[in-house]
């Protein structure tokens, strides 16, 4: 349940096969960016956050599985988190970077489909989570922060701050909610 009384669910979606996008990003981060030299593993997870009058967890899973608006069950797996205490597909040691396209997080097509199928109005947001596993001894949160935001060719990778926002998280406990929370950008934070 979110702060305003609406039900909340997060759907984490990963490719079943190796993810070429994560493989390429890992190679670039390790080979070209100082903050990524000790990056041992990198995964990309799409995340949807649904807020509104949601049915049971099983029904949410079934609806997401049935629709083509969220993921392809033949190629991807989906983990639904319907309560804050429920398991998430991240390792405790992973540092998380959530990337959102500013002002374009909402997924109207998904919202329309949901309304058509259930009659209920829900808000659907989508972002991309990069899960970073660093070698032991590295300050994972600090290095993840350095990799999160592009500054120039040698610094940052995952979000271009001129149209994207990013939010940090820990694999042990990803924020709940995560996507609908507005991030305040400090003045000195801006490029």
């Amino acid at each position: 349940m979110s702060a305003d009384g609406r039900s909340l669910a997060q759907a984490f979606i990963e490719l079943l096969a190796e993810d070429p996008e994560a493989e390429s990003a890992l190679a670039i981060a390790r080979g070209r960016l100082a903050a990524g030299r000790r990056l041992g593993g990198l995964r990309r997870v799409r995340v949807f956050e649904l807020a509104g009058a949601l049915p049971s967890r099983a029904q949410v899973e079934e609806l997401l599985h049935r629709s083509t608006r969220f993921y392809n069950p033949a190629k991807e797996r989906c983990t639904v988190r319907a309560a804050e205490r429920e398991p998430v597909p991240f390792k405790p040691e992973e540092a998380l970077v959530l990337v959102l396209d500013r002002g374009l997080e909402r997924r109207p097509a998904g919202e329309r489909w949901w309304k058509h199928e259930t009659g209920e109005k829900v808000e659907v947001r989508e972002g991309t989570v990069w899960a970073l596993a660093f070698e032991p001894g590295e300050d994972a949160a600090a290095r993840a922060g350095e990799l999160a935001e592009v500054k120039d060719r040698r610094h940052g990778l995952f979000a271009n701050p001129h149209f994207q926002d990013w939010r940090a998280g820990e694999g042990a406990h990803p924020p709940w909610p995560w996507l609908e929370r507005p991030r305040k950008r400090a003045k000195e934070d801006r490029p």
Binding site: P20, E21, S24, A25, I28, R32, L33, D101, L104, V150, K151, D152, R153, R154, L157, F158, N160, P161, H162, F163, Q164, R190, P191
Partner: protein, 289 residues
Amino acid sequence: MSAARVAVVQFPGVNCEAETERALSRAGLEVEVFRWTRAPRELAAFDAYVLPGGFSWQDRVRAGALAAKDPMLDELAARAADGAPVLGICNGAQVLVEAGLVPGAGNTVRRGAARSAGAEDESVQVALARNRMPERTGYHTRWVWCRVEDTPCVFTRGLEPGTLLPLPVAHGEGRFASAKKGRVESLVAAGQAPLLYSRADGAIADSFPDNPNGSEAAAAALCNARGNVLALMPHPERAATLGQVSRSIGGAWGARRDRALAAGDGSAFGDGPGMAFFHGLAAHFGAPA
């Protein structure tokens, strides 16, 4: 006088190298497709560079984001700092913006500090963000009108300010944007926007579809302050001949297309509006305008 040598720099996923090569050759330039497997230092043997359109590295992470980190971009940045012309078309423009070459050194915001320190400012100052279009999202393609502005840009220097060019756009991430309010407008005011989206009558485009992606200040292209590096979202290589001009285009260009097609004598293979950029590059190296 021998023709200038131009490298068409191809990363995996780029798919407009052949038509770009043809358009450059047509302008009398010596062209070679330079693939990602070659050593970046070999780029030094060329006089100018074009990064064509496509989907470098499948647009992984973000359009242009991975190619921007390639060692070839360090070499291109060095050559650009020496004054060599560099043109990025569509995905090539995304690479140049992500690499910080556009608006690049000597930009209007940090010009003083960067120059006094003798340093190149290669911070990423703008983005080519996802299109903002009413009632639709994603990839969008159409022919648009672009108005030439008064700038030091090498590629448009031969064109009178106010000239209207019909050109095709085809992208999902083509909206010039900045987190800093007014940044793109300031670049336009500083003469770093050689092309603005316009209506067919030449008025600046203020809405979709004339501005096809919601680009701030209607910017269709941005260049560095020196004018030798250009990030261009429309595809001039797809408008290299008259016969390629879309039936949706009227006005003088439409009339020329219709006459050429009706003549049936091969005149449809005459220069289209996109050739202006490639002739501009050739003129920079001394070819007659």
